[in-house]
Symmetry: C2
Subunit: 396 residues, 2 copies
Amino acid sequence: MYREAYHFPLERYISNENFKIFREYVKDIPTPILLIDVEKIRYKYRELARSLPMAKIYYAVKANPRDEVVTMLAEEGSNFDIASRYELDQMLRHNISPDRLSYGNTIKKRSDIEYFYSKGVRMFATDSENDLINIAELAPGSRIMFRILTEGTGADWPLSRKFGSHSDVIYYLILQAKELGLVPWGVSFHVGSQQRDIGQWDDAIARCKYLFDAASEEGIELRMINLGGGFPASYVDPTYDVDEYAKEILRFIQEDFGENIPDLIIEPGRSLVADAGVIVSEIINISRKSKNNLYLWVYLDVGKFGGMIETIDESIKFPICFDKDGLSEEIILAGPTCDSMDILYEHYKYHMPETCLPGERVYIFTTGAYTQSYSSVNFNGFPPLRVQILPPEIHI
Amino acid sequence: MYREAYHFPLERYISNENFKIFREYVKDIPTPILLIDVEKIRYKYRELARSLPMAKIYYAVKANPRDEVVTMLAEEGSNFDIASRYELDQMLRHNISPDRLSYGNTIKKRSDIEYFYSKGVRMFATDSENDLINIAELAPGSRIMFRILTEGTGADWPLSRKFGSHSDVIYYLILQAKELGLVPWGVSFHVGSQQRDIGQWDDAIARCKYLFDAASEEGIELRMINLGGGFPASYVDPTYDVDEYAKEILRFIQEDFGENIPDLIIEPGRSLVADAGVIVSEIINISRKSKNNLYLWVYLDVGKFGGMIETIDESIKFPICFDKDGLSEEIILAGPTCDSMDILYEHYKYHMPETCLPGERVYIFTTGAYTQSYSSVNFNGFPPLRVQILPPEIHI
């Protein structure tokens, strides 16, 4: 028996057979390393496309910007949501045409707008007057998506008020966009990443409807809703599956828009790539800090600054499997750096079999999104998390 | 009048004259960028060496691992506290001899211990039995520093319970080290980074004394205390100056140890380098998110994942100066990425002159420590924070 560990079944994340093969495949690869199963991402993409056939998919590149992921999705016909000029350069390097790109970042310099426009991008998101005026000047005639503020309640990686503005401001921007010679194109929102409360979409869609109607009264016909991301991956806490999300979201849209359903786009990131990654790590040390401590401290060779930054505030709870079986005890998990903040989980208690020893391996599932690209460039001298793409015959 | 901004005087951080020269020097350098004044670090090093002449200084390389900083401090006679084999490689590349190094990270693999020993390092820190046994096997005869747990109360970047063990465990480890053929050498602690309560050292030194006495009764004469770091830099909240720290810490030691003062080492990081760095950033956008919002949102081109990770929980409050004068209002400060967590300060309100505009520059002081090396490798496609060393005639 080569596995088992936490108080959840490993089978939720990988079949016994596949895990056996995977474990054998990685056994001589030095840790820490992130393994990516590109074929699983392809499967997830197709599944989502089937569930929401009326929505165009714009993959949120920031979730996992590996070239192998981007080129495979380009092959599959995906469009791309990009966050910076650097991501634009990457897309152009792969000959992805600018009409398949959406520049979703509302925070952009004048020079960024100029750069995007010069490369052929004609759709921009905005949420403020300053930005709108810049777009009108530097990307004349472009289509504008207006980002409304949502609160992100119910999301594991909550959305703050950083993006979007209230409907009152947005309404004014829609009118102003037209005056400035831009094309008011639609409304976008984001309900928060790893959003487990489907009802959040209902609220946001209702606000879109309000803005569509209000704009229409001024002779402006909006035609698109960007439903954002938020579709969940399989972390520790349970979620509905993508079909359930799709069905409910469609119902919300039909309730508000009836037969006149606008063009829909979605920007999945996490939900496509997270499940396709496993970080293989090693237990560096196990220690009991006082004679009568309740908990063991377990130190791994990957931590908050080596790719697991989403453990900030213990927001994202990754499924972690140890390489032993048997009775388990509660532990505190920490990373390898000399930084006191480099703790993964202290309040939420993971379980580890009592027989585990330093030097043994640990498998951290659902780590394909928002891990490698966040790694520190050389904190404590450690290099960023390495990544390896699995051969097509190895599945996770 | 080309500056002023926050509700603290800029003169606390830089003279008017120096700021004028600095501002002129950087005006054509694209943002974001971190400028480092190596001569200021030299000055800080000498100041500390003067204040605590009985303590050997081990610079904590992780605070700012730039080669220019390391080589200057090596010239000055500093020793080095290193956190990983990668930092060891860097020291050896600069011909810093292994007897000037302390491997302060208690979290190390067997292969790390072997590697350090093979390169000539003979002093190791530990806080657990597993680690001690590894050191005995792979670095026989080495000197051992035992790390005790402190709670870090009063520190702006608090120390968790991640490092060190309680005295009861440490006492047992001291005896065991001798049995294993190692040389119990001393006790180390760390009161927490940016520790503004000097009294914290008193407590920790008293625990050292207890362990020195207890070991002595078993015929083991400990001879060194590693006082760690924790000496503060000049952020927004006021602190005592280094002389005050030195005087008090010496008094605590004399109270406990009388005439028999042990060898002392200190591991300053932040206090040597933080004040020597300024990040120059640009305001990307300023927006009001609803008609009756109290606060403006101000977006900079540097954020949490581009070098300012110490704004997590708003722990470290960097002095931020805008390039305008006049009446100011309260703002929320955020970074440039599409990540909702990339907010610098939302609860602690900074002030910005009302006349500030997007495209103008912002100067973030006291950013020489724990910034660049923490930057994400390519989150949202953004490259890590760039660094430039100032010529010796430019002072900050």
